[in-house]
């Protein structure tokens, strides 16, 4: 379903966003049961997650090439369908429906090398160690035809999106959300009978830039908040909204690049694993360091300053000055560390301690990606 379309006379970013929660042929579904369901069941947050990602693209994202079109395919669960905005965008999500949408998408993307693409899929997936990922659509498990007819190989999508002269030099980003359930070797190393959506030309040199971001490693599990969105999407959006922002080399503005986003997601997967008591591991690949989006202002960064040794903190003051000479923070230490927020940038930190200790000055970059930015400053005793 085409939900956004801009002026077609200019190059654009073309997005295809898919969220499949409802699988009629898997346990819990209302269709004829699959002869082999591989342990897969209904999902509760895929359609909601995809909807939120599409909303970010349409209403918030500052893309290097403005959004040209956005296609959304949602197969919501009964609970997700109670939200009118999700129900309004729900429709057929079979592999053949995807074939139609994908071919419209690739037609838009093929107009010129200056177009760009974004692909986001969340739903059930299968992974064979001898092959690659199979994205499962709503009709997976239907009793007629090959077992994997309702699945599309991600490699077919990825390679197909580089299969002509225009596509093969573009910036393209792929986000693959959801678990990567392993298929045991009784099914063979390659998953046959899948639905291909594109032809692939093997001799085309692939000069694409961008990133491919998986929410799990092969055999790994992805997670979601109950009645919420997936953890991967939550982290992804936090990164795109500033958590993964870096200063481009030309020093102008702030941007999220494929590399900085990969770093952000990698760091956050560790933090989230501890926070939620699960084993999260994302699989991230980048080609060059293409910009994903830009920010209209520096992101806010939580900063923590710790002064050592503890006795130096007594009556010590911290002053933070930006490069235009503006004092942005001034306070006295009243504990082991001082926490506050700053817009990302370069600052001068001056610590004015008790007369027993030397005054300290430090220039430091306050920047994303990352969590709280922690600075530990070691004071030295003043010479008599």
């Amino acid at each position: 379903m085409l939900v956004f379309e801009a002026d077609r006379s200019q190059p654009g970013t073309h997005a295809l966003v898919i969220g499949v929660s409802r699988y009629p042929h898997l346990p819990g579904g209302d269709g004829a049961p699959a002869t082999n369901h591989f342990g897969l069941t209904q999902l509760g947050s895929a359609a909601r997650s995809a909807h939120h990602f599409a909303e970010w693209l349409i209403h918030e994202a500052r893309l290097p090439v403005p959004l040209g079109s956005c296609r959304v395919m949602l197969a919501p669960s009964p609970e997700e369908a109670q939200a009118p905005e999700i129900q309004a965008r729900s429709g057929g999500c079979s592999a053949s429906d995807f074939l139609e949408e994908a071919n419209d998408w690739i037609a838009d993307a093929s107009r010129s090398p200056e177009e760009s693409t974004i692909f986001y899929f969340v739903g059930q997936k299968l992974h064979s160690p001898g092959s690659e990922d199979l994205l499962l659509f709503e009709d997976f498990g239907a009793p007629r035809g090959p077992v994997f007819k309702g699945g599309v190989s991600f490699m077919n999508i990825f390679q197909g999106m580089g299969s002509n002269a225009s596509l093969s030099s573009q910036v393209q980003h792929f986000f693959i959300d959801g678990s990567r359930h392993s298929v045991d070797e009784s099914m063979g190393g390659f998953l046959r009978g899948t639905t291909d959506v594109f032809d692939v030309r093997p001799s085309q040199v692939d000069r694409r830039a961008g990133g491919t971001f998986h929410a799990a490693v092969p055999g790994g599990q992805a997670y979601a908040h109950v009645d919420g969105v997936s953890l991967f999407l939550e982290t992804l959006l936090k990164g795109l909204r500033g958590g993964a922002a870096v200063r481009p080399r030309d020093g102008r503005g702030w941007a999220v690049t494929a590399g900085s986003l990969a770093t952000w997601l990698g760091s956050e997967s560790r933090a989230e694993s501890e926070r939620f008591g699960v084993a999260l591991q994302y699989e991230l690949s980048i080609r060059g360091d293409a910009t994903v989006c830009t920010l209209d202002k520096p992101p806010s960064v939580p900063v923590s300053i710790t002064l050592e040794p503890p006795e130096a903190m007594m009556e010590a003051w911290l002053k933070v000055v930006s490069d235009d000479g503006t004092s942005v923070h001034a306070a006295r230490f009243d504990g082991p560390s001082m926490d506050f927020d700053l817009p990302a940038g370069v600052y001068e930190f001056e610590i004015v301690p008790h007369w027993n200790w030397q005054r300290l000055r430090k220039l430091a970059v306050v920047s994303s990606p990352g969590l709280r930015q922690v600075f530990t400053v070691r004071a030295q005793e003043a010479t008599p």
Binding site: P129, G162, D206, G219, G266, S267, S285, R287, S322, V346
Partner: protein, 332 residues
């Protein structure tokens, strides 16, 4: 790479253990002749198995694989690269017999369960072409050689490959890798320059300059661009399977950064001088008026106070190279 590892062993996050080296030098590489066993299929199998056994001795080990030579892809799937060993082409009836399936190498290093002591950090550097020869289209199916069997997934044991095992390719699919006669490969030069400091970043937690996987992914494309300009080549780089950040090495000091300073608008340059001071207010660059079209310098990576026409800015010199564009008042 072998020499670099030995010279910088003390800066690595884990002591250098087993280091298997195979070389098949050409007549243009006399200094590499006789240094190591030749890179034949038989020697490669032996060396790889020794390396794998060592990697499997403790999950905190770090395994590193570096291949430089000819390579090709036999289809367009991401990991269908074949690495060509010395005797490639010796068997006309099985043309890929002395080509090793790269996927087999990587897959054979997987951890198969939580209890598997296989090294959980692995680095793969593939400095080889990924061209797709037309010759291969004449065959129904082509497979390179494998060097080990991949165990089947045991359905009773939860399978999860939880390695951090990035693969860094020097060529995009369908493209070639470039070498410079008498020097080495373009990618190899950029990689070593990055490890020597071009990918250096200051780690606040340890208060050290380090090179990490994250800093390498961000700096290596830039370093490669510098090397490409030097040799007029178009080498790209692809990173696959990146995960959380991981330390690659520590640096003794802040690396040097090439800084280029320009002043805008042009009309302001006759009256503009620029001074750059470090955090201790020690001057490191002084350029008196009139400011030239561009000033190039090398300073230690870090943060600086840059003053032009009385206007001060805090700027960062970040490896491998940083452009500083200063906007001043047109009327000086």
């Amino acid at each position: 790479m072998f020499q670099w590892l030995h010279e910088h062993a003390a800066s690595l996050p884990a002591p250098l253990g087993v280091c298997e080296l195979l070389l098949s030098p050409s007549v243009l590489e006399p200094d590499a002749a006789g240094v190591a066993q030749r890179a034949t299929m038989e020697n490669f199998e032996l060396a790889a198995n020794t390396w794998r056994e060592a990697a499997r001795s403790h999950r905190d080990n770090i395994a590193l694989f570096y291949f430089a030579g000819h390579g090709l892809i036999r289809n367009t799937t991401e990991k269908a690269q074949v690495l060509l060993l010395e005797e490639f082409g010796s068997k006309p009836h099985k043309i890929l017999s002395s080509g090793v399936e790269m996927a087999n190498v990587v897959n054979g290093m997987a951890s198969l369960s939580e209890l598997d002591p296989m090294a959980r950090m692995q680095l793969y550097f593939i400095d080889a072409c990924r061209s797709f020869p037309d010759t291969l289209t004449a065959y129904q199916e082509q497979q390179g050689s494998t060097i080990w069997d991949i165990p089947a997934v045991d359905p009773k044991v939860p399978y999860k490959d939880d390695r951090l095992a990035p693969v860094i390719y020097t060529a995009e699919p369908g493209a070639t890798a470039f070498g410079v006669e008498g020097t080495g490969s373009v990618f190899g030069e950029a990689l070593l320059a990055s490890l020597d400091g071009g990918a250096g970043r200051y780690d606040e937690a340890s208060q050290q300059w380090t090179v990490s996987l994250a800093s390498l992914t961000q700096a290596l494309p830039e370093q490669l661009a510098i090397t490409n300009r030097k040799y007029d080549t178009q080498q790209m780089v692809r990173f696959s399977d990146i995960g959380p950040d991981a330390l690659l090495r520590t640096l003794d000091q802040a690396p040097l950064v090439e800084v280029t300073i320009t002043v805008e608008p042009v009309v302001s340059r006759p009256l503009t001088g620029v001074s750059v001071a470090n955090a201790d207010d020690v001057s490191v660059i002084e350029v008196a008026a009139p400011f030239p079209e561009m000033h190039r310098d090398h300073i230690a990576a870090g943060n600086y106070r840059v003053t032009a026409q009385g206007v001060k800015k805090y700027l960062t010199a970040q490896p491998p190279a940083t452009p500083w564009r200063l906007q001043v008042q047109a009327d000086g």
